[in-house]
Symmetry: C2
Subunit: 199 residues, 2 copies
DNA sequence: CTCTTCCGACCGAGCGATCGCTCGGTTTAG
DNA sequence: CTAAACCGAGCGATCGCTCGGTCGGAAGAG
């Protein structure tokens, strides 16, 4: 029985999109030619176009996959946690940190290539981004309403916490000084201080 | 006597680099052709190349200007503040927030186009970025040593604070719901909670 | 003062290379 | 035999960049 070695990714990407994702991370969308995607995927250029309509569509699929993966994991984490505000908060922050630390490629693209999306796809992406932010907003709001969180600025604190977790994708290395567990523990502690969790 | 209307920018950019900067923000470096930079600057393509060696050099100049502006402002803010840790911290966080809110274009490019830099320029840029981070690290360290800041994770908290300030450039709008003063006040309050400032 | 020279600022046209993408096939699995 | 999977070659467009100039104003010569 095989062990799932990609704990954060619910559904795997196709090899082609995986290749495209890596190229987009390293060179950016406009800096990546379809020829290097094809070479990385072990295909010819027409081989690529047999599976995907355009380079733009590859980007859209990669970004949609990233956002829906994160959202689904967030929902699961919230559903699996106790219902009190602090437990919900810990679950969501932990999920955010893990995703951005262990799924760096999709996480990085999800916020660095927004401007490369066609207008309609960009609107959809931003809607997904806002929905993700709203999860945190609601958890923080609930904690403030329950008197568990003492921050005087729930909206801004919520955004600050999401962005500090998001940017973990920019610097975290699995082989760096912090183990995954240490990383999550420390960011949980920091995030709790940021919203002013009691205790 | 003229009033300086660009409070965050110590030295102005040339009109050409200003045009390049705007294009890079909107389309990204690889998504921007020199022809659109030229059009935006009101010049022909050879006109551009009379002043700058290459598109790459324009990017390097824009990014270097952004980083050195921020660093100089940070030094000035620290020098102008009282020497106690909390005052130094407030000065540095305020400076960071103001720069990323009011100088959105250079701030955005400074962290979104790193991968578009040539290898040597990228090394230099990252060195400047690290120096900027070190300013915050030192202030936080001093506060922890003085018993003013209670965070159990100074290094990670320092990075979290810098990144939450940095990402202000991604969403803040001058004509949005938050006035500049409100923005700075709230981020100061949030950052103080994040490092666990007493009182 | 005029005339000549010179130089920095600028541009029309276009170079070779590469871009995203497609045509007209062949190969391969069932 | 069919259909999905795949590819060599190459299309028109655009890329970064340059060639060979024009032009106006400052500087020097008479």
């Amino acid at each position: 029985m095989a062990i799932d070695t990609t704990p954060s990714s619910l559904t795997p990407l196709s090899p082609i999109l995986e290749a495209a994702q890596e190229c987009f991370v390293e060179q950016g969308y406009h800096g990546t030619s379809i020829r290097v995607i094809a070479a990385r995927a072990g295909l010819s250029v027409p081989g690529l176009y047999h599976h995907y309509r355009s380079k733009q569509q590859m980007l859209q699929d990669v970004m949609k996959h990233a956002m829906t993966s994160l959202y689904r994991q967030s929902e699961d984490a919230l559903a699996a946690a106790e219902t009190d505000p602090l437990a919900q908060f810990n679950a969501l922050v932990g999920c955010l940190v893990r995703f951005h630390a262990f799924e760096r490629a999709p996480a990085f693209i999800a916020y660095s290539e927004i401007r490369s999306l066609d207008e309609e796809a960009r609107r959809e992406h931003i809607a997904r981004r806002d929905a993700q932010q709203r999860l945190m907003d609601q958890v923080v709001e609930a904690g403030v309403a329950a008197g568990e969180f003492t921050t005087p600025h729930p909206t801004e604190a919520s955004r600050a916490i999401v962005t500090m977790c998001t940017s973990v994708a920019q610097w975290y290395r699995m082989d760096g000084p912090l183990t995954p567990d240490e990383l999550v523990d420390r960011y949980l502690a920091i995030a709790r201080m940021t919203i002013g969790a009691r205790g």
